[in-house]
């Protein structure tokens, strides 16, 4: 396996003091040499202290700006630090760090690797409305990109340098969804899915409280439309 000192694991965290230590320790156990960056999204609890004492590098946003902005901050850190392979992992313990390795291996033949909880054997309890929304926008994203898309909302992903340089400037401020998948495809970045297992949150309330499904569907359609209407994004020439 290649030297992993060029690997950065980004963990966006908002009030995750309870789960963060375990997540960081498990990540360290799975990826000994990777640098672990916690982006503290304006937490009011001891998220930053916990992360620091667990040995992670911490970047603290001065106020809560939302998941997408926290992730983008991590991408900017990666660009500044010239990391070559970047993994995105939730701070709430849902993503099993054992799958960081397989995600990184997937980067050998694509720019973005998305961990899908629906490709594996495990089954998940997801509310029917949410499942319908995921299926609908997964199908739309699959149709528009021509790729196999089974889990559009997965935040468990790996990116190569090219993808991160692009996303550091263009990542949407909201949760990743079909529009992000389409944006990546339009930028000319290749992506694929690999099976991962996700767990129930270790503790606390979930980061995503399912918004009114009507608003969600409307917003998502609009985001996809806007993504398509915008000029094709340009990648760095080098």
């Amino acid at each position: 396996m290649a030297d992993s000192s060029d690997v950065l694991v980004i963990i966006p965290a908002f009030n995750e003091e309870k789960n963060l230590r375990i997540v960081i320790e498990e990540t360290r156990a799975a990826q000994m040499h990777a640098r672990i960056l916690v982006v503290d999204d304006g937490s009011s609890d001891r998220t930053a202290e916990v992360a620091r004492s667990a040995g992670a590098t911490v970047v603290s946003l001065p106020f809560n700006l939302g998941y997408g902005v926290a992730v983008q901050t991590g991408f900017r850190f990666a660009v500044r630090g010239r990391f070559r392979r970047i993994v995105l992992l939730d701070g709430d313990g849902q993503h099993d760090p054992r799958f960081v390795g397989p995600l990184l291996e997937g980067l050998e033949d694509s720019d973005v690797v998305r961990g899908s909880r629906f490709l594996g054997a495990a089954r998940y309890r997801i509310p029917a409305t949410r499942r319908m929304g995921m299926a609908l926008f997964g199908a739309i994203a699959g149709f528009l990109t021509g790729d196999r898309v089974t889990d559009v909302t997965s935040g468990f992903q790996a990116f190569d340098e090219r993808a991160v340089r692009f996303l550091a400037e263009n990542y949407p401020s909201d949760y990743p969804d079909a529009d992000t998948v389409i944006l990546i495809k339009r930028a000319g970045l290749s992506s694929r899915e690999i099976p991962v297992e996700m767990r129930e949150r270790l503790s606390g309330t979930p980061m995503v409280s399912w918004p009114g499904s009507f608003y969600y569907v409307f917003k998502m359609c609009l985001s996809i439309l806007v993504t398509l209407l915008r000029e094709k994004p340009v990648l760095d020439p080098d």
């Binding site: 970047v59 603290s60 946003l61 001065p62 106020f63 700006l65 902005v69 983008q72 901050t73 900017r76």
Partner: protein, 124 residues
């Protein structure tokens, strides 16, 4: 036009102009925006004093009564200006986002440098 309405419109437009000039003078309103509001005050003043203009405008837009012309004009003006504020607000949130990200990254850089310097000085 009813002379009472006319007096009221003239008084209001003059008051509006005074308030705008005062706000700009105290630097609570940037010059960038002041001209829009000064124009608004001037337009209200002109329409209040020059009735035939308002009548001609009403014929031009095809309205039956002058009041609807004025309401329509006011509504359009408010729509345009709130659209302008929305774009300005989007631009501002984007700038705040970038600033916050940069501040967070720079703070981390600075902390790292401080630690290194303290280690260096304790070694000596």
């Amino acid at each position: 036009m009813n002379p009472r309405i006319r007096i009221m419109a003239i008084t209001l437009s003059v008051l509006l102009l005074i308030v705008i000039v005062e706000l700009v003078r105290k630097r609570r309103l940037r010059e960038e925006y002041s001209w829009v509001w000064i124009m608004t005050g001037v337009v209200v003043f002109v329409l209040a004093t020059w009735e035939s203009l308002a009548v001609r405008l009403t014929h031009l837009v095809g309205a039956k009564i002058m009041a609807s012309t004025l309401f329509f004009g006011g509504l359009m003006f408010l729509t345009v200006i709130s659209l302008h504020f929305s774009t300005k607000l989007s631009q501002l949130s984007d700038q705040v986002k970038k600033l916050a990200q940069q501040a967070a990254l720079l703070t981390e850089d600075l902390d790292r440098f401080r630690e290194r310097r303290e280690e260096d000085s304790s070694q000596r």
